[in-house]
Amino acid sequence: NAGVTQTPKFRVLKTGQSMTLLCAQDMNHEYMYWYRQDPGMGLRLIHYSVGEGTTAKGEVPDGYNVSRLKKQNFLLGLESAAPSQTSVYFCASRPTSGSSYNEQFFGPGTRLTVL
């Protein structure tokens, strides 16, 4: 049981390049989330999904797109990277029933630098 995994762990982009961050969970959780965390700051919600095929905007969605084609995967895309998107990106998932209801399980993070 790997929990929540994120690919890649590190990435350096040039301004204007595009990339996709992959989040995968093997816990059969319905809800998934993408956050960004800037140095010394708290996490900010980018997008989230309450089920396969659904996505919704969080606090800071501009410049990002997401897709949830499969229940276990949640993809975060940057179409044209900007230096302001340099951050650590965390993915999380949560169940909707059971003893861990309402608990978000976080991945290890992806450190992205945009030059």
Partner: protein
């Protein structure tokens, strides 16, 4: 979503009890109060969640007064390994679309 206010930082010593208070004046009826812990270079980890009164688990206790406008996370007998950032969040109910909004958190430093 209700905003939360918590101290930016706290210092303590090993073996002491630490209480971190969070203010959430605009908490909604369906909102839960949740606390997460984050170590450097790691994702946050769930500590405890409650709706009202007192909740206790093997790690911490959460005290919530009747008006639910604040809450206190209590860490008994802290150790050096409890040095981390602690986030107080409200939300995660149907009225909040099951979202959680993280604030800046409280940086707890435990000294020997």
């Amino acid at each position: 979503l209700a905003k939360t206010t918590q101290p930016i930082s706290m210092d303590s010593y090993e073996g002491q009890e630490v209480n971190i208070t969070c203010s959430h004046n605009n908490i909604a009826t369906n909102d839960y109060i949740t606390w997460y812990q984050q170590f450097p270079s790691q994702g946050p980890r769930f500590i405890i969640q409650g709706y009202k009164t007192k909740v206790t688990n093997e790690v911490a206790s959460l005290f919530i007064p009747a008006d639910r406008k604040s809450s206190t996370l209590s860490l008994p007998r802290v150790s050096l390994s409890d040095t981390a950032v602690y986030y107080c969040l409200v939300g995660d109910g149907p009225d909040s679309s099951y979202k959680l909004i993280f604030g800046s958190g409280t940086r707890l430093l435990v000294r020997p």
